[in-house]
């Protein structure tokens, strides 16, 4: 796990090195700015160190098998978290992404199992379905001005129902092309293959958001949509695009979920969505504090999962995971809100 971690951070560091006067945000070159940006990463390192030394978990925690399992298991949440931040950057919530992933998982399995489709066709249709659902959400929210919170919550409930109907409440076990689970459990360079998909998605998203005019416009919309409109940004179209991209990415997350699990459970995806949200908001306190960003999001995913894994291995009960996820989400929202306010007040 530490390997992916250093990888993603290395890209961020490379970026910073390319611009020596450094320090993108209000913190300037101050001690506080640095502390803010790297606090979450530092915390992650501290948690890893703690559970590696803590007697109850030292035996099992800092082992390659645990790291490998942890990263593999978290790849779905990580991909979903990356999807979640796309609409969030422009100021919209998409709560349906968990359900989109669940639907995509079931659809991929179902198309192969019930209808004998080939793997690639099933995957393509599932990802396209995710994008289509995103397009509908985006249309409702941007064109018709519906509240994104309620609209996507409604969509999530609806999709959860459709999943139940499609599967009859049963887990789809048989008829899945074995290539998919094989891919899900295979490793490359000692790491689960799915991790590389997450790494690729992170890099692409990081490039898109931080290094293209499109991404910069998305942040402008998030800052003030009316101002964005008056500098020629097609606000509705751009926000709609983020919903479509998020839907497609959630579709991929669903396929990955099927690859990891080898079977598709009739599920509404809430169990995936909330860790992803927690990671997204935690991520907004790191790297570029106050803004949703892909690298921070990945650090957020790792922080939550490493902490939960450590707790579990130290013998904490099953309630530890949701309690930690919930607490992390609350702390993250509080912290990012506070950072946002502090930024406005602190004068240069």
């Amino acid at each position: 796990m530490s390997l992916t971690n250093t990888e993603t951070v290395a890209t961020a560091a490379g970026n910073a090195a390319a611009a020596p006067p450094a320090d993108r945000r209000g913190g300037g070159g101050s001690w506080r700015g640095h502390a803010e940006r790297h606090a979450l990463l530092g915390l992650l390192v501290a948690v890893v160190a703690f559970f590696s030394l803590y007697p109850d978990s030292a035996q099992t925690f800092f082992t390659s098998s645990n790291a490998s399992m942890l990263l593999g298991n978290q790849s779905v949440v990580a991909l979903l978290a990356l999807a979640v931040i796309l609409p969030l950057v422009t100021g919209y919530f998409d709560f349906s992404l968990g359900a989109v992933a669940a639907l995509s998982s079931v659809l991929t399995a179902g198309l192969m199992s019930f209808h004998g489709w080939s793997l690639w066709a099933a995957v393509a249709v599932s990802v396209a379905a995710g994008a289509a659902i995103g397009a509908v959400n985006g249309l409702l929210v941007t064109r018709f001005g519906l509240n994104s919170f309620v609209t996507t919550l409604g969509m999530a409930t609806l999709l959860g129902g459709l999943v139940q109907w499609y599967t009859g409440g049963q887990t789809i076990l048989a008829g899945i092309d074995p290539a998919l689970p094989q891919f899900g459990s295979a490793t490359w360079l000692g790491l689960p293959r799915v991790v590389f998909i997450v790494a690729l998605a992170t890099v692409v998203l990081w490039y898109l958001l931080a290094h293209t005019p499109f991404g910069r416009r998305l942040y402008a919309i998030g800052s003030n949509p009316r101002s964005a409109r008056l500098v020629g940004v097609r606000v509705d179209r751009s926000a709609w695009t983020t919903f479509v991209m998020a839907g497609a990415l959630a579709g991929v997350a669903g396929v990955l979920q099927l690859a990891r699990a080898g079977s598709a459970t009739a599920d509404n995806g809430t169990g995936l969505l909330f860790p992803a949200l927690a990671a997204a908001f935690l991520g907004a306190t790191a790297v570029v504090p106050g803004f949703f960003n892909p690298v921070g999001t990945i650090i957020g995913v790792l922080f939550v999962s490493v902490s939960v894994s450590g707790l579990t291995l130290s013998g904490a009960s099953s309630w530890a995971s949701p309690v930690f996820n919930g607490a992390a989400l609350l702390v993250a929202v509080g912290l990012s809100t506070y950072l946002g306010r502090a930024r406005g007040v602190r004068t240069g």
């Binding site: 209000g26 964005a228 008056l230």
Partner: protein
């Protein structure tokens, strides 16, 4: 006429202000102003922008506390320091502001009840009694609506009447309330204001005392019995029971002798070096929203001002030219070529727009100053391997220096800058595109004096460089200081235009205030 008439009989006066003075820092808003309101009359308080009328209303409403003076309402006397909102209310002053403070989704009856309380029936609300009472009030105020109608569904003039009836709902037969109307017709279309004013007049005929502030001379003249004219914070005239002409009122407001302004100064050549230059921006027959057929041509290097009252369509004109509103009819041409609809296309055609509402429509408060400056030119920095951050930063620093924006670095959040520096940055954001047409909406609103000078200098430089500049402003001194030519918008059309020696603040005041046509166009035939 211009001197103060004999004061009305003392017992007759329900509201009297004497020697009211109010300073805001270095500016004196009120400088010993007097006002006397006779019972049962409609009294108009008029004057140009910044004459102190709004300050007077705000002092009466208890929003501001005057520095000196005496306020007398219905026999009770306060010094400026001792007066507050509660005292005014207890003495019988009732206000209806330009923002009516109605809840559009709630029913008319609930709008009344939220002010006066809901009648109780046991543990609940007696809707029957409330609706009965409100129905009575609606009838008394000639409002043709049911108490159950949502306030937002009423026509504009009726909405104002509801606000008036609500303000006066606790008036009893023997008690004399004074109704203060602040710009009641500012946002109403012509026929709606007439309906409203007729209703106000009928109330007055039944003994209601009204103090009314308005910019629209014709309306004021049609309903008022008495007039008080303010200029520069002083009372320059009190006309009780006399009916002046619009001309006389406007002259009192602008301080010019009658006739002087009507004489065109010896056919002076319309200003400017730009006469021979080709028109860069041509607007023809623009209709949409408040605009009812605007024609305007702006030449290379010319600075054209747009004056007009609130609601005359200044902002709409600029936004329509910038492609934010789709006009119903009319065309916009830049350099002779018709401009495609939509803001991105208009930007590509070389139009730039600095909006009036800086915080709401120009700022990206939590993004950095650099990102705010780059917002209009993002594509310039894009390379396949990413944004050219180093160049972006260097250019941002260059702009910060060139436009004298005071900021610690290009990386501070935009919200940390002062208003004046924000405005300079917004201007810089557009000027870096080297626009052919620069549209400025209230370019120095909320901007300190130093920054204002910087902004004026920048705008002049840009025009000297060949840009066609349009400045919409309610600050007539600004238009006078900045423009080669000023057009006056009235009722969605360009009513008149002034340039050269005709272009003075007083003359502009006169032109913007008058509602009818009789003000002769400069360079006219008389």
């Amino acid at each position: 006429m211009t001197s103060t008439e004999t004061a009305p009989v003392a017992t007759d006066v329900v509201l009297r202000i004497t020697g009211m003075t109010k300073r805001f820092g270095a500016t004196t808003a009120l400088d010993g102003a007097d006002l006397a309101l006779r019972a049962g009359t409609v009294h108009a308080l008029v004057g140009g922008n910044g004459c102190g009328k709004s300050t007077t209303i705000k002092v009466l409403a208890g929003v501001h506390r005057a520095d000196a003076g005496r306020i007398e309402v219905a026999g009770s006397v306060w010094t400026a320091a001792g007066y507050d909102a509660r005292a005014g209310r207890a003495a019988g002053l009732r206000f209806v502001h330009q923002d009516l403070g109605l809840f559009p989704e709630l029913s008319v009856a609930e709008n009344f009840a939220l002010d006066a309380g809901y009648p109780a029936a046991g543990p609940g609300i007696s809707w029957r009694r409330l609706h009965q009472r409100v129905a009575g009030l609606l009838e008394a105020y000639e409002i043709d609506a049911s108490p159950r109608t949502p306030a937002g569904a009423l026509r504009p003039s009726q909405r104002t009447l509801v606000a008036i009836a609500r303000a006066l709902q606790d008036q009893e037969r023997d008690q004399q309330l004074v109704l203060v109307l602040d710009e009641p017709t500012a946002t109403l279309p012509q026929h709606e204001s007439q309906l409203l004013l007729d209703a106000v007049r009928r109330r007055a005929d039944r003994g209601q005392t009204v103090l009314m502030v308005s910019h629209r001379m014709a309306e004021v003249l049609s309903v008022s019995d008495d007039f008080t004219v303010f200029r520069d914070g002083r009372t320059v005239a009190t006309l009780a029971g006399v009916r002046p002409t619009e001309r006389q009122l406007v002259d009192l407001m602008s301080g010019t002798a009658t006739g002087a302004a009507t004489q065109p100064a010896a056919a002076s050549a319309p200003a400017g070096p730009a006469t021979a230059e080709p028109a860069v921006l041509e607007v023809a027959g623009l209709v949409g929203g408040p605009l009812r057929g605007v024609d305007l041509a702006v030449r290379r290097g010319e600075i054209v001002g747009v004056a007009g009252l609130v609601g005359s369509g200044r902002t709409s004109l600029l936004k329509t030219v910038f492609g934010q509103h789709e006009p119903v009819a009319g065309s916009v041409r830049v350099d002779g070529a018709p401009a495609a609809p939509g803001t991105p296309a208009r930007m590509a055609a070389g139009i730039a727009y600095v909006p009036e509402d800086r915080g709401g429509e120009a700022a990206f408060p939590d993004l950095t100053l650099r990102e705010n400056l780059s917002a209009t030119v993002l594509r310039r920095y894009w390379r396949p391997w990413g944004m050219a951050r180093r160049r972006e930063r260097a250019e941002a620093r260059g702009l910060i220096g060139a436009h004298a924006v005071k900021a610690a670095s290009s990386e501070v959040p935009f919200a940390a800058l002062s208003g004046g520096n924000q405005q300079k940055a917004v201007l810089a954001r557009w000027l870096r595109r080297e626009p052919q047409v620069l549209l400025l909406d209230e370019p120095t609103q909320g901007v300190d004096v130093m920054s204002r000078g910087d902004i004026y200098r920048t705008v002049r430089d840009v025009a000297a460089g060949g840009c066609a500049v349009v400045v919409a402003s309610s600050d007539l001194i600004e238009l006078y200081a900045l423009c080669d030519r000023v057009v006056v918008l009235r009722d969605g059309r360009i009513a008149t235009e002034v340039s050269g020696s005709q272009l003075t603040p007083d003359h502009l005041t006169e032109l913007t205030q008058s509602t009818a046509g009789p003000v002769p166009a400069p360079g006219g035939t008389r």
